[in-house]
Symmetry: C2
Subunit: 266 residues, 2 copies
DNA sequence: TAGTGGTCTAGACCACGTG
DNA sequence: ACGTGGTCTAGACCACTAT
């Protein structure tokens, strides 16, 4: 906060004392970072460190403003962006909360499969296996691990209205998901990502998907109850947590008869 | 602007004169609409009416603020949202411009097809036909027309690096696209959506897509140079213009060997 | 009634692009 | 040097929720 913009009429100078507030590097520097971006970073740190956990309320805007020694408007803009990134959820009159995969309809955000009539149907998961093994070169690269590092492999089916529709192969870094077993998986109720965040402190923030049409290989076809060679939607997903660190590789095969993958371009 | 919020210290009352500024319906009414939303609506009207055309610059924030008799911050928030909706583009130091499909890399926004190496390749269009006919019940419903209303049907192939990769069937309302012929289509250089906006004053704002894996039917397979039954990505798109009016139905078949459809979940 | 987020204003200054 | 968007502040009031 050396030469903070605005407030020429402020006779006190740069906000009383510099204290423990790491706000700095402002005007006319070659690497200019707005104050609200720095505040955004500080809030993200608190989220990542677990100071405020998923579902919990965070301090009010005025409280954060006084903590960081900035105006409410600056905190506001930081929270605005974090809310746009789905890290926080604002509720007027109540407060601002840490986003979570537990509540709400956050399911659809990561599985955009609708029935032909456009209705979102509930699904049930049927676990096939959960093994620990060493990462292949390909998986290691995508998870930012060293080859042969330990990983967890989960295989499961998803059934919509009793119809087997999705086969998923999920790779997770073994270090983060220590103690993940088939038993624990089957005991847990709710979305997988909800379990990851409550049981392993790893919250999925965003993901990228590569989508193709492929012919069902015999083993896959068998599990999905379709003939070999049947056209399937292949969905390769990489999920990221705080700091854009990859923490999940998922390969999915979708049967798209009666269902479709919904996407919105805007 | 009867009892505008803020500014108790304003002794003048409700902003000089009410004049031609349609800002109204403020506080404590059952249907509360923020001022900046109303400004957003007014700006959208000017966009839709063609007062500011695609690619052109719009008046500066201060100018709009004085026109609408609100503060710059209020105009700013309205423009912020319009920029987030891809209707406007801000350029620091220069001004705010009406978004267009002509320039930039707006191609990828509506055709998210990448090569396996993750690189975006250029493509060329090969027109197959352009006919005028009467809408089927299905197409009429999706375009919000009456059955048997006139529509235009375009068929084309897209080639990436010489490889035939996409077959598109495009339906457009005949009323809006009067005078669209195969010749005019083939003469035009650049993206289809760019032509629609410059030649027919219809700008595509957003679209929804239904994605499935299907087996290639013989006629489609033939055009795409793949065997019948080959797995193809089926992409059914409906595009919308201002006011969420549908103005295009597009059915695409993608060959996803060597290429994939990229999607980001966030 | 009190607290929270949401809106609005007015003014100052900074960063960027162009003369 | 000037104009544009971008940042920051301080303060007032509104809308919503809980007590």
């Amino acid at each position: 906060m050396t030469s903070n913009p605005a407030s020429t009429a402020n006779p006190i100078g740069p906000a009383a004392s510099g204290e423990a507030v790491p706000v700095a590097a402002p005007a006319s520097s070659p690497t200019f970072s707005p104050l609200y971006q720095q505040i955004k970073g500080l809030i993200t740190q608190s989220l990542e460190s677990g100071e405020w956990k998923p579902g919990e309320i965070i301090p009010s805007e005025v409280e954060l403003a006084s903590r960081y020694k900035v105006s409410q408007g600056t905190v506001r803009k930081a929270i605005d962006e974090l809310a746009a990134d789905n890290l926080l959820v604002r509720r007027q009159g109540k407060g601002t909360f840490v986003a979570t995969h537990n509540e709400d309809r956050a399911q659809f955000r990561f599985l955009r499969l609708l029935a032909d009539d456009g209705v979102e149907h509930p699904h049930v998961s049927r676990l096939l296996e959960c093994r620990r093994l060493r990462a292949s070169a390909d998986i290691a690269r995508q998870l930012d691990l060293k080859p042969a590092d330990p990983v967890v492999l989960i295989k499961r089916l998803l059934q919509f209205d009793g119809e087997t529709t999705v086969l998923d192969e999920i790779w997770l870094p073994g270090g983060v998901f220590r103690g993940l077993t088939l038993e624990r998986l089957s005991e847990y109720k709710g979305p997988l990502y909800a379990m990851f965040e409550t049981e392993f402190g790893t919250r999925m923030i965003r993901a990228t998907e590569k989508i193709r049409a492929v012919a069902a290989e015999p083993s896959v076809a068998d599990l999905l109850h379709v003939p070999a060679g049947f056209p399937l939607l292949s969905v390769e997903r990489v999920s990221y947590t705080y700091g854009d660190r990859p923490v999940e590789v998922r390969r999915g095969w979708y049967v798209t008869t009666g269902y479709y993958y919904q996407n919105d371009l805007s």
